[in-house]
């Protein structure tokens, strides 16, 4: 069974939960907004489910509910922020606002954050940048869970890359992890007792496997083989050595609320040409790709288009939460003594 909640209702509920957990009032809005936005976009792994990881991390004392987010180093073009072991979302959001400001003045802004927990979906930050008419590019590293045949250890995290380009109809948004598939697909196969395709995973000794249970004890393969591994290594270096944050293999913490470092860049198209010309050319580009000759059932989807369609649907139909997630949320609500009238 699935419970369906409206976005507003879910957001209120999450805000109350985080407030009850002593999370700084000024951060609960953006945390809840990011999580619900992921659910609205059908990226459920980074929605309420990720919120439950935060709740767990706060309860364990690993996540600091009242971080003192502070700037460690700043120049005209760059900023480095210390997240003081807080939930990563408000930390990354603060860095995002700062790079937007820099890109508006100077044309480019680059920001980074370390000493923070999970930032949720990177799409959230690059879309915020795109909302300002700027191009956003972001990366982050995560706990090592990607491996390759022959190596008896994970090597790097699924280290995502996100890019958003503004258009008049909402941004083109790419947000992708660097594993062949999301771990969720392997969990699903395990639950159904099905084999997984060759090439999705290796077991803990680095042997290719089609057994989802062995895969879950082992490591995901990098997308596109050595190409994805190469990208994931580069993301790892730039999210760690560049800013004195941990690399994938030494990221601590047990849950998926872990993160190493976070980087974001905002780029003002006006450094190269008039904004209106840029926007017009992006529009024309999308139109060209959309009108390519194709089979009746086929379609060229722009990055972020499936998520935008989902957002449009779930904004009216509500957000379906599966039993497990809903039950855990209700349990937390009851534990914290949040009353129904506080839920909305």
């Amino acid at each position: 069974m699935v419970r369906v909640l409206q976005a507003d209702e879910l957001k209120s509920l999450l805000k109350n939960v985080f407030k009850s957990l002593n999370v700084d009032e000024k951060y609960v809005e953006v945390i809840a907004d990011s999580l619900v936005n992921s659910n609205l976009r059908c990226v459920d792994s980074h929605g309420v489910s990720r919120g439950l990881d935060f709740i767990n991390g706060i309860k364990l004392g690993e996540i600091n509910p009242r971080p003192n987010i502070k700037v460690l180093k700043e120049s005209e073009v760059a900023v480095l922020v210390d997240g003081d072991r807080g939930v990563g979302i408000p930390v990354a959001y603060e860095v995002t606002l700062k790079v937007v400001e820099k890109a508006k003045k100077l044309g480019v802004g680059i920001g980074a954050a370390k000493n923070l927990w999970n930032v949720g979906a990177l799409a959230y930050y690059v879309m915020r940048v795109a909302k300002e008419g700027l191009i956003g590019v972001s990366i982050a590293n995560a706990k090592a869970r990607i491996g390759i045949p022959g190596i008896r250890s994970p090597i790097v995290g699924t280290n995502p890359i996100a890019i958003a380009v503004p258009t008049e109809d909402g941004p083109i948004v790419l947000d992708m992890a660097l594993s062949t598939v999301a771990v969720g697909k392997i969990v699903l196969a395990a639950r159904k007792g099905e084999k997984i395709p060759e090439g999705w995973a290796v077991d803990k000794d680095g042997k290719p496997t089609t057994d989802p249970k062995e895969a879950l004890e082992g490591y995901l393969t990098p997308v596109g083989g050595y190409k994805g591994l190469g990208l994931a290594i580069m993301v790892d270096v730039l999210s760690s050595a560049l800013i004195d944050a941990p690399y994938s293999l030494i990221i601590s913490g047990k849950g998926p609320y872990t993160q190493g470092g976070f980087l974001i860049m905002a780029l003002n198209p006006t450094i190269f040409r008039e904004y209106r010309e840029f926007i017009e050319d992006v529009r024309s580009y999308v139109e060209t790709l959309k009108s390519l000759p194709k089979d009746p059932e086929a379609e060229v989807l722009m990055p972020g288009e499936p998520e935008a369609r989902c957002l449009s649907r779930r904004s009216t139909e509500g957000i379906p939460l599966d039993d497990g997630v809903w039950e855990q949320l209700v349990k937390v609500v009851n534990e914290l003594g949040i009353r129904p009238n506080e839920r909305s």
Copy 2:
């Protein structure tokens, strides 16, 4: 049969060829250096073979041998250059030197070039950036040759991405096209009369194929499916609409000497931390990945490591040119009346 030439000998020969073709003296050194560097790194597709494309383009009158490379727009952080339809290598190189200068002063520099022919291997430019102790990131778009099932047209080019990070033992360098495999592998299968694996290509009607001949008339698939396609689309937008250059589908010219736009960024690690700390952490990162538990025959290779090994080998053993490439080069040398004593 294979003809082996020493790098110096090959570079001299190429310089003389380009001089004889009326290419501006001040550009022949960097053109020859980039091409030979690709051969030294075993990236033969971007070596002498690409040089032959340039020679052809110059003869056809498509490539301007004496371009007036000029700055169209420049600020403290960014620069846009017009290549005046010249070989892309000196154009991209000039942009590279400019972003290095900016990154040394300001911390970050972003540059772009349009109206240029092929830039050769992106690795060349990001390695030049890394030589200065800076991080280099570069992208470029190319003529559309990537397609997906159901679409009866190519969609985007193989639009490469390159990143270089400096280390004390030479840079970590990623330089990858966004197709599943290089077209060369399909050409090879066709020559041998072998089938190609599923997933490498679609035919010209967008139907998956294992026939290399159909594949060569059709399109390469994007690496990692929709992830690679998404990245290739983003690279296309940033290499075209952002700088008023053509996108993959409208890039003109018949040969692989075509290119849309070129972008490069130089990033000074000192915007975030002390340079020596950064370099030390990169060194320690590489060491960690190198010492992971593994099977006897397995190895974690850093991006660019196979190419660096090849460079070391070919620097002493020489560069092997296959019959086809060597014959074409000899033909050009004879046509231009270059005498043997001018070759070295």
